[in-house]
């Protein structure tokens, strides 16, 4: 310690005499040694104070008091600074944990887009944070293709945990031919029983009868899907008044049928696609309709990607929610 003090005093007095850059450079390099010795800011000020005292033996008393004051406040400053650093380390640990969680979630919720005859299906799902609160579930057999688009109200870890449960709920209803209203009723009971009261899930469930081209759908408080009827050249909202999942026990859901003809298409999405907090007045659904129509010659996957890109541009790459869109083309 005394050696360090002597070194510091020499570097300081060199600087006071000549004030050149190399003295400053040496001074900054010297700080490394102080760090190695685990010195705190107040220690450094104390070394400085003692050096000054020795260099100028006529230093006014008031100046020494000023140094003492600085030492005193730096004790607290040093503590706050250390706390801040230890929090940064903790934050890093949490970040690593979140990365692991995101990987696990990706494995759990992995969906492969099926390829049923006569249908072209595309999907884009991008979480706003590391973990996704949206989820798309596909099922497919000889006669039926079904799709669930879900959105947990909320984001991040709580939403992701809830989503795992929704996924296993859907897995247990493994028959692609199940009625959409039945699927919603069963899921509602599972979620109502097992999830915290503040957790709600919106879900759009559709089942396509591959033989008769009938699309049957039901919705639990979900963003209405868009259905483009190519014969009429008109968009329809697929909307029901179904309650969000997880609010009440024994809720009944209605289901509806539409017949899909060639060149018709459906756009299923979560509210992350249409809710722009920054642009409340903006008719986002109208924008999506126009855009979809102008690119309906593309494949379903390309359509999803273009819509995602265009909306990102529109929002200055600042989408504020989990974003999920599914396009089904007949």
């Amino acid at each position: 310690m005394n050696k360090l003090k002597a070194q510091y005093k020499r570097i300081l007095s060199d600087y006071i005499q000549s004030q050149n850059e190399s003295n400053l450079y040496i001074g900054q390099n010297f700080i490394k040694q102080l760090i190695q010795k685990n010195l705190t800011p107040e220690d450094v000020i104390d070394i400085h104070k003692q050096a000054i005292e020795e260099i100028y033996n006529d230093l006014p008393e008031s100046m020494l008091h000023a140094y003492d004051f600085l030492i005193e406040v730096m004790v607290h400053f040093g503590l706050m600074f250390k706390e801040h650093q230890s929090l940064l380390i903790k934050q890093e640990e949490i970040r690593i944990e979140m990365d692991v969680a995101a990987k696990i979630q990706n494995l759990l919720l992995e969906t492969t887009i099926p390829n049923p005859k006569d249908l072209d299906i595309g999907m884009v799902s991008v979480p706003i944070r590391k973990l996704n609160g949206d989820y798309v579930h596909f099922m497919h057999n000889q006669n039926y293709f079904s799709v669930a688009v879900t959105d947990v109200v909320g984001k991040g870890v709580p939403a992701a945990l809830c989503m795992s449960m929704v996924k296993y709920g859907l897995d247990t209803l493994e028959y692609a031919r199940s009625n959409p209203s039945y699927v919603l009723e069963v899921l509602n009971n599972i979620i109502e029983k097992s999830v915290d009261d503040s957790m709600f899930v919106s879900l759009f469930y559709g089942r396509f009868d591959l033989e008769n081209n009938i699309f049957t759908w039901s919705s639990a408080g979900h963003e209405p899907a868009l259905y483009y009827n190519s014969t009429e050249q008109t968009f329809y909202d697929l909307e029901t008044k179904g309650l969000l999942l997880g609010i009440l026990q024994e809720v009944k859901y209605n289901q509806h049928d539409i017949k899909l003809n060639d060149n018709d298409f459906l756009i299923l999405m979560t509210d992350g696609v249409t809710d722009f907090r920054e642009m409340e007045e903006f008719d986002s659904r109208g924008y999506i309709k126009d855009l979809a129509l102008s690119i309906s010659h593309l494949t379903a996957q390309e359509m999803c990607e273009v819509i995602y890109e265009k909306l990102q541009e529109l929002l200055n790459f600042n989408i504020e929610d989990d974003f999920t869109i599914v396009v089904i083309k007949k």
């Binding site: 107040e42 005193e72 004790v75 607290h76 503590l79 706050m80 706390e83 230890s86 929090l87």
Partner: protein, 135 residues
């Protein structure tokens, strides 16, 4: 033989009184200016905790001599609500929203040892020791 000095913590002014007493004692024992500042800051945080959470309590300051080692011991005693999880209060950022101090993690960094005894509903006793650096 050094006697113990005690400051009752009732108002915020008593925090300053405890600081003053602690600094005098630290100087008397032979701590340098920087360590005086550390000891005083530790006392300040302990007294502030009493004032904020237990409302009433006391700070006891004493000189300690064990096996040719000399140091200062500070004991904060209150009959406040007690600490639920001692391990947690020693982690950074365990604080209530209205808390203003740097808290116990800071106190721990300023001294050589810390010992916390707490019973829910009965109170808390925190003893910290800082040794005089030989050489």
């Amino acid at each position: 033989m050094d006697s113990k000095s005690t400051v009752e913590i009732i108002t915020e002014l008593d925090i300053v009184a405890a600081r003053r007493l602690g600094r005098d004692k630290a100087r008397e024992i032979g701590f340098n200016k920087v360590d005086q500042a550390r000891i005083t800051t530790a006392i300040s945080e302990l007294a502030k905790n009493i004032f904020l959470y237990a409302h009433v309590g006391k700070i006891v300051i004493e000189k300690i001599e064990v096996n040719e080692k000399t140091g200062i011991g500070i004991t904060a005693i209150d009959r406040g609500p007690g600490i639920q999880e001692v391990r947690k209060v020693l982690e950074d950022r365990y604080r209530t929203p209205d808390s203003v101090g740097a808290g116990l993690p800071a106190v721990k960094r300023l001294v050589d040892s810390i010992n916390i005894q707490s019973k829910i509903g009965l109170g808390t006793k925190i003893k910290v020791v800082k040794w005089l650096n030989q050489g």
